[in-house]
Subunit: 289 residues, 2 copies
């Protein structure tokens, strides 16, 4: 008995070859991937030269990866796969603040800071105050919740990208909410910035005339005992590229006004110069299931 | 105006991001891939940990590649993608001998040999004679057609896999048909063999309880002026794994009897010891379009 390869029977034959996979979940995943990949190939009908180009692209993407560069995550990001996976995984968190991608710059441990501290270790730009409250989806304030915060500076660079130029820990802080679930800290308004373009993903963006920019945002990971941790951003309302984030991470509910405030008394209370910018946010966590 | 990421709108948003791609073919390919990849992700609903495993697998696959090892082609092979692409591309060749995968061992230039020469440079195994004729799809003999032939030995190893052990060029030959389109050469019957298993693709086969073996075969690339070149194998009828080729390359029309012959006169004519094995094939090429 010999098999006989045909276009029509190919996907079934490959899926059948995985029939003895002991891990049922792996078998399901491979079956779905094979079905959809074969469908794409049959739809596109690639030439041999196009298939070779695809092999070369995937190989170069793998070979661009190092300890500090993950080109396959970048590829997943620019194809919207990362956001799709992230969003599927937040389905259980009804009523909670929406999540978005972690991104590649959560690389170092954020310094522990006290409420009201600044995460801007340079002090040359217009000050910004971020205030807010962490609550449960039932509205109850969450005292002792931990916020891990990181952001780019006003030139769009993270500290880890400019080791000699920015002090380590610039733009980063680990804060704990007070007994009312409240938090506040000082910073500067971050800038939009490009994702790395010196690899195969950059070549893909160039060939498709896509820009590499992400709209301005501040990253948060928020956690509290008994609640699902939340990975998200707040996006700066009015930032460039809010309608065309290179990694598709914008959810409208995460866009936050960074108001211009001219109020010497309030500035003094937050220990910033006047005028300043102020963003106030509420972060709701879903109970752990 | 800000975008708003949703599971339902994600594929459309990504496809829209490629709208300005100048190369229409690239835009079509990316659109189809994004549509089917997103469909697979929405069907599978991977956890974050599963997505991370996928990223790690693809990265390791890229990093396993070297000048002499192409792990992404191997992945394409074991998922049946290589055969699907190959078969789609032979559609224009109605009436021609069927094609199959090139495989990874066509790495060196085959030595030019005269009709009747042996490609077995070791001479320790039962001899085999391969005879045949190259014709057009109209049946006309093709004089001066070139056959590039390569095969594993009777232990399932190609010369390039055993550089110290097999002479270079063992199992390889470049033959030109006579004025009747005929060819004949001496060799040994090849063995089945495993594809390389010491990389991520080997791990995938192990995790899914798939064996890595390919049924015994001889490779051919056949070309003639004015005709489409053909990349194919002949499979040894009765070989193990003919019903479960690890790379799905078997087409029934390519299975060939390697007959046991006991005929001292015929053996003398082919300059082999008696008894011997004999495979006779007809190879039909389609006109160039």
């Amino acid at each position: 008995m010999a098999t006989d390869f045909t276009e029509e029977g190919a996907a079934d034959a490959v899926i059948e070859s995985f029939a003895a996979t002991p891990d049922e979940r792996l078998r399901t995943i491979l079956g779905s991937l094979v079905r959809h990949l074969h469908a794409a190939v049959r739809e596109v009908e690639p030439s041999i030269a196009e298939w070779e180009q695809a092999i070369e692209f995937l190989t170069a993407t793998g070979q661009k990866c190092t300890d500090v560069r993950q080109e396959f995550i970048l590829l997943s990001d620019v194809l919207g796969i990362s956001m799709l996976v992230e969003t599927i995984n937040e389905r259980g968190a009804a009523g909670a603040t929406q999540s978005t991608v972690l991104g590649p710059f959560h690389m170092t441990r954020s310094p522990v800071r006290a409420l009201g501290d600044t995460i801007d270790l340079v002090g040359e730009s217009e000050p910004c105050v971020v205030t807010g409250q962490v609550v449960g989806t039932d509205g109850a304030p969450l005292a002792g919740a931990v916020l891990d915060v990181w952001q780019a500076n006003d030139h769009g660079a993270y500290d880890v990208q400019e080791p000699g130029k920015q002090p380590a820990g610039n733009g980063r802080g680990l804060f704990t909410t007070d007994d009312q679930g409240r938090f506040w800290f000082r910073t500067i308004v971050p800038s939009y910035y490009p994702i790395p373009t010196d690899g195969p993903v950059g070549d893909l963006l160039a060939a498709t005339r896509r820009h590499p920019y992400r709209p301005a945002h501040i990253h948060f990971i928020v956690s509290a005992d008994g609640y699902q941790p939340l990975t998200t951003h707040i996006f700066v309302a009015g930032t460039e590229y809010i309608d065309s984030d290179a990694v598709f991470a914008v959810k409208k509910s995460l866009i936050t006004e960074f108001k211009e405030v001219d109020d010497p008394e309030l500035a003094a209370r937050y220990q910033v110069s006047n005028p300043f910018r102020l963003a106030d946010i509420q972060i709701a966590l879903a109970p752990a299931s």
